[in-house]
Amino acid sequence: MSRVLVPCHVKGTVALQVGDVRTSQGRPGVLVIDVTFPSVAPFQLQEITFKNYYTAFLTIRVRQQTAPHTPARWVTCLRDYCLMPDPHSEEGAQEYVSLFHHQMLCDMARVVELRLILRQPSPLWLSFTVEELKIYQLGPKSPSVVFPKWLSHPVPCEQPAPLLEGFPDPSRVSSKVQQMWALTEMIRANHTSTRIGRFDVDGCYDLNLLSYT
């Protein structure tokens, strides 16, 4: 299924915290990222890709245009998706993740806006976010090719002239020859990535110092 990148505008993260952000001691455990699509009409969302950076749980809410003249509604399409099995340890902390429309709780048609709610309950991490966020929509189906009539409706072939005795059946011979040809083609297409084993260049291994780059 083809997919097409949708240009989006990712707004800055907003921390949700009780009390004044500047004076309180602890670090926020919930962040919200809004994603808008300023120049795109409501579209069918296919896939969301991003690189995690120490986020433990992800919730996604989507604003969908249900009917032409009603205001768009917010719906939760992914709830508490676990990115880090143990929020205190590093497992899954910097992984690349893809989320597909079939994993979502609702139908992802006519998406207008996205909201990602990131949660990291562990106080051990200094910050957390998601990076390299990319949204994809369903690509156009490949255009159907129109075949010329003689190709799509071949004329039934006439019965061949009766064979002389002792000759093999031509259709069997041709199928065998085809198979042999396919084998030779496969062998010719083989290429290998093994090394030859020489470590010098043209018989010379006189080196400078080791390079640092």
Binding site: T49, K51, Y53, Y54, D86, H88, S89, E90, E91, A93, Q94, E95, Y96, V97, S98, F100, P123, L124, W125, L126, S127, F128, E132, S175, K176, Q179, M180, N190, H191, T192, S193, T194, R195, G197, R198, F199, D200, V201, C204, Y205, D206, L207, N208, L209, L210, S211, Y212, T213
Partner: protein
């Protein structure tokens, strides 16, 4: 699930590509062509008939073994957007630390080169080549002056780098929190705890027979040993790598060990392998490398001084010098985040056509490297077989012991596993040692970095390495280190300094490995 199917087809495609260049592929092709002569192979059902032929003649088993062997080192399937360095090591701070450590090693080697005015590599004059060829089987009698050479680094230097490893996003501040690391390693990798280890090492449990415990003289052999040997012979007859790996988790009988290890590592003695080894030998004779001096020095300092291994000194040179020239080892950098050192032909700096790796295998030996080879000398007597087994063990396991990575079998995870096991299950001992300034990892690091080679008695070491092969993981080294501390806990509680603690643990050659592991994992009241 669509995702899993596409992952699987990607893995299959990659393994097929890898195996296409191998000897096995050429042999299978030859066999397939030869089989066309047979009457049961028909052209219409060519594919099925040849598959059936392979099954009957045992070639399918060989292919299965090869695929199994590739899968054991294959990195897990990952996201298409992930760049290649992310596949090898997902954490950026680890890649950076590894990069700066490698730079340090390169600087050290370069300065040795310029100070001593010895080139990194030179072609030997013909007379010297002849002399070396004559002396090939007794290179140990050579006494070159190596006093000016020093090892590039020792395990304790590497430990200092690991201690300073920090995740920039982690709370490393002063106030002690519930997750402060009281040990030396300060990165929060995920390690197994004892319930998870019990499940992982279930075949080492109290109810399962073990070689190393149930083959001692007091136990009648009919109870376990005879049956185990019989099963081992059957596994060897079947030539199945996966079955051998499962079997060896309970230990390997001494008589079958060499063949079992070769089967698990998928090494069969082919004429091509002997030729390959001879080619490497020719490379050693033709070229003299600076790292050869480091190898000599290492062997003289470590293996030659060891009571068990000094007899194998000549073998060690024959293996290690060839190892430095083997470019096939470069293949392991596909799943190892480290990078092989690079250099250019003299006068052609910066031109990519003249870029080469130095040493040709990309691995710079350090102090104690030869101890990875020494125990294998007890099992294999032909140099080419010994060489192949060592090379395979290195690219599967030993490279993880001197490289910075977050892999569960990497040395960082092993250190963290050791420290967390000790801290959780022997808190008093851990606290006491920390208070007297004897952090336990400072003592156990050298054991783990050498996979206990040179510290345990040889038969015990081989029983331990059986389990490394059986579980395809090095975590058992950390468990054994913790078990040794648990065993000597009473004595350690009475020491008052790091030197005294080291003295208590200086000699572990009398210890029996399997009872210690069993007691620590399955019989300790927690």
């Amino acid at each position: 699930m669509l995702q899993e199917e596409s992952d699987l087809s990607l893995i299959i495609a990659q393994i097929v590509q890898k195996l296409k260049g191998s000897n096995l592929y050429a042999q299978l092709e030859r066999q397939a062509w030869a089989s066309l002569q047979r009457p049961e192979i028909k052209l219409e059902s060519l594919k099925e008939d040849i598959k059936e032929f392979f099954k009957i003649t045992g070639w399918e088993k060989k292919l299965q073994n090869a695929v199994y062997s590739e899968l054991s080192v294959f990195p897990l399937p990952s996201h298409p957007a992930a760049p290649p360095e992310h596949l090898k090591e997902p954490f950026l701070y680890m890649r950076k630390a590894l990069g700066s450590w490698e730079k340090r090693i390169l600087k050290s080697l370069n300065s040795m080169c310029t100070e001593l005015s010895i080139p990194l590599a030179r072609k030997r004059p013909v007379a010297e080549q002849k002399e070396l060829l004559n002396k090939w089987n007794e290179m140990g009698t050579d006494e070159p002056d190596l006093s000016l050479f020093r090892p590039v680094y020792a395990p304790k230097d590497f430990l200092e780098v690991l201690i300073n490893l920090r995740n920039p996003n982690y709370e490393n501040g002063d106030p002690l929190s519930f997750r402060t690391h009281l040990g030396l390693i300060q990165v929060p990798l995920k390690v197994k705890d004892i319930p998870e280890l019990k499940e992982y090492f279930v075949e080492l449990g109290l109810n399962t027979g073990q070689l190393g415990i149930d083959d001692s003289t007091q136990v009648p052999p009919e109870l376990f040993e005879n049956e185990h040997v019989r099963i081992g012979q059957k596994v060897l007859a079947e030539q199945d790598s996966a079955a051998a790996q499962q079997y060896i988790r309970q230990g390997s009988p001494t008589a079958l060990r060499a063949e079992l290890w070769a089967l698990i590592l998928n090494i069969s003695g082919q004429p091509e392998d002997i030729l390959y080894y001879e080619q490497l030998k020719t490379n050693v004779i033709q070229y003299d490398l600076l790292v050869d001096r480091l190898t000599y020095k290492d062997v003289k300092l470590t293996a030659s001084n060891d009571d068990y291994y000094f007899v194998f000194e000549d073998y060690l040179y024959q293996v290690l010098l060839c190892f430095s020239r083997d470019t096939s080892v470069l293949g392991h950098f596909a799943y190892n985040c480290a990078s092989p050192p690079k250099s250019y032909i003299r006068g052609k700096i910066g031109l990519e056509e003249y870029a080469v790796f130095y040493p040709p295998n990309g691995v710079i030996p350090f102090h104690g490297f030869s101890m990875y080879v020494a125990p294998l000398c007890f099992l294999y007597h032909e140099p080419y077989k010994l060489y192949q087994i060592f090379r395979e063990m290195y690219v599967r396991f030993f490279f993880r012991l001197h490289s910075i990575s977050s892999h569960p079998s990497g040395i960082v995870s092993l250190c963290l596993l050791f420290e967390s096991l000790l801290q959780t299950y022997l808190p008093q001992l851990f606290y006491h040692l920390r208070e007297i300034g004897a952090q336990p990892l400072r003592i156990s690091f050298k054991w783990m970095a050498r996979a206990f080679s040179g510290y345990l008695a040889t038969d015990q070491l081989l029983l331990l390495w059986d389990r490394i092969l059986g579980y395809n993981s090095l975590e058992i080294l950390a468990v054994l280190a913790a078990a040794v501390f648990a065993f000597r806990a009473v004595n350690l509680m009475e020491v008052t300094s790091l030197a005294a603690a080291e003295a208590v643990l200086a000699d572990i050659s009398t210890l029996k490995v399997m009872p210690l592991l069993q007691i620590f994992l399955f019989a300790t009241v927690t």
